[in-house]
Symmetry: C2
Subunit: 330 residues, 2 copies
Amino acid sequence: MTATIRDVARRAGVSIATVSRAMRDPSIVSAQTLHRVQEAASDLDYTPSQLGRQLAERRHAANGIVFPDLSGPYYAEVVLGYEAVASELGRAVLILATHGRPAAAEMVTRLAGRCDGLVVLGPTVSDTVLLGLAARGVPLVTAARPPVAGVDSVSAENAGTARALATHLADQGARTVLFLGDPALSSDVQERLAGLEAGADAAGIGVRVLPVSSMDEEGGARAAEGLASGDLPDAIACANDELALGLMTALRTRGVVVPRDLLVTGWDDIMAARYAELTTVRQPLHDLGATAARFLDDFIAGRRSEPRHEVLPTELIVRSSSSPAKGDNQ
Amino acid sequence: MTATIRDVARRAGVSIATVSRAMRDPSIVSAQTLHRVQEAASDLDYTPSQLGRQLAERRHAANGIVFPDLSGPYYAEVVLGYEAVASELGRAVLILATHGRPAAAEMVTRLAGRCDGLVVLGPTVSDTVLLGLAARGVPLVTAARPPVAGVDSVSAENAGTARALATHLADQGARTVLFLGDPALSSDVQERLAGLEAGADAAGIGVRVLPVSSMDEEGGARAAEGLASGDLPDAIACANDELALGLMTALRTRGVVVPRDLLVTGWDDIMAARYAELTTVRQPLHDLGATAARFLDDFIAGRRSEPRHEVLPTELIVRSSSSPAKGDNQ
DNA sequence: CCCTGCTATGTAACCGGTTACAGAAACCGG
DNA sequence: CCGGTTTCTGTAACCGGTTACATAGCAGGG
């Protein structure tokens, strides 16, 4: 068995209190005692038990982060930004992927019992669950999902850039735009659609909506199959890049040439979008996670006043999928 | 303050032992008592403290996973596979990204104190650190790095598929192959190079090695600049996809046409490789993580006998970057 | 020389659970 | 009606730390 503080105390001929003090703050122990304790500790290869410490201090020194998935580049990058800041602040990071499981609520609640605070990303659990946690006093920050009353949130701007996207498509000569994605699925999608519609209205062009079975390449490919060849829109704005990529690939096999026959845009600016020459919107993913981590830390440390809701800026990236003029290069 | 087991016991008029029993195994408590305890617990909104429980049970019910980074799709996918299995086994997952920081060893050691076991991926900490942890009795599994004596490991096959890759390049008519990547950087790279050389030898073609400054797109782009225009090899085999993608993009701006002038291959089969039509090698990333999680669990549960070293199969994916015949489609 | 104040240390009460052990109550067959 | 089980519950000792409070020793000022 591994050595405990009592073993060290016995060996050094001091009390456990002294050992504890020597470990946490060497300056409050006499030089001689310190030396004896350190000797005993290293002899026994002693490492203070984090559990004992945490129980006594009544803090976990850990934060949790909950996300739907990690297979896309999206959440991975957010998690990474989060981890970078959290570990800098000396907190461990617990992750939980919900994968749309129905037991998600229970899993999140259990997770909340293991950490000092939680960041919840995207469509993972219902607002009810979050309100329940907040009521129990669990420090909470949401990211990439609609703000919940009284809970800090961080998200990326949607409507404004979507509006700019509509303007861009109109500038490229599009008269009819199809929005590919299910607004019911997430508030981000809703906001993107709303912005797109606003921009389209202003430019005097029309927007139709086509829901998808899933927000991945497969969903995009399926949507492509469903499009009537005779009646293609001028442009298809997809709710994310994966949809757009799947769509473009499927369209190509049908002989539709992008952007000549049809403009296509995505959202997220994942790495593959660059190589597919896909026009898209870049989000500050890393920052999203990092900001969430800082908000959470402020909250835990009691430095927050009112709930904050930060919206980070996004950027339209025009590539050749929506802009024949851009040629084949970026 | 949140309710403790003693509050519940007092309210239900029973001892804390009874409350504990009622919470963990309702069947060993009389129906009447159970009801009273449950009532009291729900009145007080009682949730057992994980910390108290963990200390008493002397287990964390959590595993850690250490990786260099999460920005590429590589580790993200492995982590995800790991998380899926671990959470199924009822264990929380703690993550730690080392980012090549020198303090990594200390961070890993601290992490080890918070979980029942650890999976260590790739170039994160030295073998010495791992041996130290193993000696302290920390259950350990390594993945995507060379096996350490006495420690379970999981990795993906390198040499065999690299050999197949060399054969493929020779079949495509390449006489000279340049390997792009620094073998000193990781054992995976070493093995890939060794396999490539073996295959090239067998096919009677030559291999040169060009180290890179970094294993990302930037590194690939820099390497492209360094190539003498007059003296291009027939093929460039890159140590990973990002290098290959960066290289191809840079070559294109120089007017070099792939695959007409030069064949290029990567390794990993990240999503962007598909869109760039890059020949590459697919690794079972999700499986890598999942297998590591199972190994670790077996170890912790005491079900292991001898250290195991599993090598998962990989698959050569030929696309048009190395195969003019493939045309522009996959 | 005594009193005061400071430093270094020990004692013991936590933190919030689990569980070995023991005792009480109820139930059983003979 | 009695001894032996079985079932349920309580007592108390952990798990491994932190820390409030008490105390001893010692230096310094009056």
